[in-house]
Symmetry: C5
Subunit: 298 residues, 5 copies
């Protein structure tokens, strides 16, 4: 997540540097051509590029809205993971009525912490087993290492734990169901995050919009051919910059688990969950929140 | 689902080739007519086509938003199918407390895999029984072959299985209800996908928008009659191309189960479910994910 | 529901014929007046009607979006009715564990089919009792005939049936609750469809938008007074046609249960439910789907 | 709720009469000033007011969309109240298995009717106890009269009734829970209606938009200073009228419980609930639906 | 929450005073430069700044819509807190069947009141323990003081209370589950409010929009260089003011828990909950509602 007020200009410009270069090249070529062909060319009324620019801004706004919705949905999913993780621990504490359940609760709570980190890593296509040994027992680690979908395997471990309780008659069917539906909701959240990660935003939509911005630049540079090139190029760059920067922002919002500074800060959220859960189970050794990088937090 | 960065230009142009031809024909006819009638014709101010173009871009953006919502809803439905399929298996494993249930769980899990493929095929109006023999027993296959709605028939088989368990008192009413509501959610998802597939996007909306684009082309070509035809036609084509391509994209997003490259990749999703479920039940022989075609994945 | 590709032009034009007539009359009057008063009139810059036209297109797009949402919500409600009707039958089959329940299930399933047709008819303000004798026993028919709200009365019959089962201890409280919540969801869907049907889309919103289109036509015809009337009228008609047709489409989408070709096809959906339910309970005599009319399906 | 086709022009104009007066005054003052200062004034290009007008129409459309959403949410809440009220009665009838419960069901059903009227009155800041004696026993009336939040007090009465049943073991914990969750949903609906009623639509948003319309009027009247005042004023009034009327419509939609003709028709909805409930419990004396006023229904 | 009709102009202007200053400085600099370079400068057609202005208004409207959604979501979350707090108390009263539970209900109800105030304070980064001693026992106060997340600790206390009841067999598993899910919903609401508070609105989106407004001001001031500076500056200020004020409104809506007058009025809502709960448990000493400040209520 980018932090307010600290994003360096360099970071922003780098995102659109190729497009700006192309704009400058297009402007110079069009300028050169129109100079050559001046006597043969009819006038291009300014109304045409400005109408096209308005159309692009409308289309871009809608695309931005859809990208924002994807990003916000992703954030909501991780918000639900925070809620369900905390509720799971409180439920275990309140529903396990027998004595000496602290140890099992601790194991399950640690698995839940592990699940959060593991899901974040696997969404970002980083090593999903990183640090897993801190939170999981060696046997658990063995079991999940064999699975393709590691977070799903961790969930299965907790589900099996509940089954053991149920078979030993330490909980009734009712409690079993309750905790199971919390686990189901967590599996749902995982599936929803995977869906956002695996679904490519409609490619043609993106391409046509990008293509329209170039048509806009070309037509506008034709319409401005009477303008001296030293004024024309900054103007073209400024106007197309607005479009390209917003387009890039939209693209980054669409895919919020790409290990980029504009990501949803899943590692930091997982740490918050760790802190909350550890305090709920009365652990002493609470880690500090994740510290932000220069202008973002992962 | 179209894959990012690989879509060939040919594929895109082919989608709008007729409309582009019409635009060129309209431009030539209007050009010819206005040349003939030049002295009698009043001037068409450019403000009229550009305002109409802006209006069309606004209307098109809204239509795009509605089409995108349909597509994203369809994707969400299949995401829910992934979640509920995985939850169903974990629920069976955790709620069936008696010994020797592995075989039944395996049968039900395979039926669930079959259901996913079968639903994908029947939404695309392909043979819903394709490959069903791989996942279903001969008796099951017989039963569903007689039904109009094959996926519903598969669901009924699993519901009957649960009833047998219940009657044999292997599960309590509670567990019965839990698993039944997972089955109900899957039937709901199926119904929702069928709804999107069977509901035609408001026809008149589509027609009027298409009609407006042609009015725009005609009026713009009248307004540009002073412009030489060699400049006018590329300009008309470029501007109308933006509209036609976006309109086509919207149309494709609206109907995401038409066996087209722009479809939701239901076969690939069903395969992911197969892989996940097989690992959950401890199968050894896990199939690989569906490989993408040249520029898309089904 | 209008069918794609078959809607006759005549049907479309008839919807806006009065508005087009008014536009032509307005254009002729304004033209006449401006001719008379020519020397006294200042010029009307074209920027004013085109800005107003843009404004109208924005407002119209939003209204379209809201109307579309109403229509899509209505369609979703009927989709939920499909899902819950099928789930109800599967639930009855899986939860009624005693022998010889086929007959009761059949009675309840037929009542559910009756309910779907009856609700469709009463939403469209047609005879809600049409064909009810096919699906209901004479006693049931008697009972519902006395009620104002026939579909609610059918639901009450099924709820009473479940109570009888419960009192005879054929089902436990648990199952009772499960089936009861399916019935509740169906009552909710009915209430939601009634809500859409009984709530008038904000009248003033509609009026002001319609009024704006006329202001646009008047101002535009003043701005075009230099243009010959033979060119002006087709232009005014073409531009206002786009607005009026979209406005009419929005109006039709808003009210999807008016017994019009653009309705949600509730009779056809009820038939689909009938086919599905009859196959689930093993009936032999399955009716065919509703055949479409010339360009629509009811 | 305003009724279609009957709203008198007088009602509409009265809503914006002050704003129209201000527009006329502004136009005359600007006209006078520009006449005086004519030689010193540069030209105001028409592009500036028309761009501002477009911007306002976009902003106004969004505000309209948000107001419409508030209104539609309010209508949905009352739709949910209809559904849950009917479901409550059917649940009581189906879940109370002992004999001689008709009287209690009748008392609770009447309380539910009372709650609907009482909530409507208290949202509109009218006397919440009006007509309560018709539906409540004297003791109940006493109890709720002491509470600040009367509808909440009525709900508490019904919740206590269920507790009595439970203590007397006439219902099991299961049924208790079921009916309790219907009561909870009704309390939620009440809270949601209160939320809409108590939350002021962002004040600054409203003010800036209103302020922009005046800036638009001033700039436009400067731009039109060459136009004769007899043409200019009707034009300014017509254009600003579109904005003011839509703004007013938005404002009225935002606050749907203000005892205004444009309100959600809560009294009429409460009557529908009364009719439905009374028929469900077999009452003979069914009141007629609320008759509409001249052009609206409350 | 800002109160309608009372917001002083001073408050509004102060929010954008720096931006207005920059606009005036930019205008003067551009004016000076263009005067100097007049002979060398080509003309800047007005179409370019007006198209850019339209584009900005579209983008700003979308941003406003997204900010409004965040604000409205935050308000809904607090609405849900109102509902669940009231439901919790009614549930305790209706589900605790044994005698002499009033004292425990009172303790839990007071904890719930404390939780509402505490959550409001901690969202606003004020002292979360302020006034907590009024509502909590000294022991409870001790316990929560040690936690990082105070509201979560209060919830844990109530969850433990229910466990004690369950262990003492005063409630059955069923009731336990019911009340527990109300507590879970409250934890969810807390998590959702924290999510809105901790998630920074996409920074780059905000920056580019702000940057575009400045480009608009520069280009417009170049286009207006022929206009006398005494007319130009008020015009630039008026137009950019509309943008800056709306941008500021959007920014304030985005972050509704910042201890600003435009906040969601969480203290006032917590007081309403206190009043409602105290009346439900029959307390005599009911506090008055929070009185508004000059033009807002916290």
């Amino acid at each position: 997540m980018l932090l307010a007020k600290k994003v360096p200009v360099f970071y922003l410009i780098r995102k659109v540097r190729y497009d700006l270069m192309y704009v400058i090249i297009v402007a110079i070529i069009v300028h050169g051509l129109t100079r050559q062909l001046y006597p043969y060319l009819p006038e291009m009324p300014l109304g045409i590029p400005t109408f096209l620019g308005t159309a692009i801004s409308v289309l871009l706004s809608f695309k931005m809205a859809q990208s924002y919705d994807r990003w916000w949905e992703a954030r909501k999913i991780w918000g639900a993971i925070v809620n369900d993780s905390r509720s799971l621990v409180i439920q275990l504490q309140t529903f396990l009525l027998k004595e000496n359940t602290e140890k099992t609760i601790r194991t399950m709570a640690y698995r839940q912490i592990a699940w959060c980190y593991c899901l974040g890593q696997s969404l970002r296509e980083l090593d999903p087993l990183a640090n897993m040994k801190t939170y999981l027992s060696p046997e658990d680690y063995e079991k999940i290492a064999k699975h393709n979908n590691k977070p799903l395997a961790i969930m299965q471990l907790n589900a099996e734990e509940m089954k053991k309780f149920r078979k030993a008659n330490e909980i009734d069917g009712f409690t079993h169901m309750q905790i199971n539906s919390t686990l189901s909701r967590l599996i749902d959240s995982m599936g929803m995050a995977e869906r956002i990660n695996n679904t490519i935003f409609p490619v043609t939509y993106k391409m046509f919009l990008h293509f329209s911005i170039y048509i806009f630049v070309i037509i506008l540079s034709i319409a401005l051919r009477n303008v001296d090139i030293y004024y024309e190029i900054p103007l073209l760059v400024a106007l197309s910059l607005v479009f390209f920067l917003l387009e890039k922002t939209a693209t980054h919002l669409q895919d919020p688990f790409m290990n980029r500074p504009s990501d949803i800060s899943v590692t930091s959220i997982a740490r918050t969950i760790e802190i909350n859960i550890k305090q709920l189970i009365g652990e002493k050794d609470i880690p500090p929140p994740i510290a932000p990088e220069k202008f973002y937090i992962m």
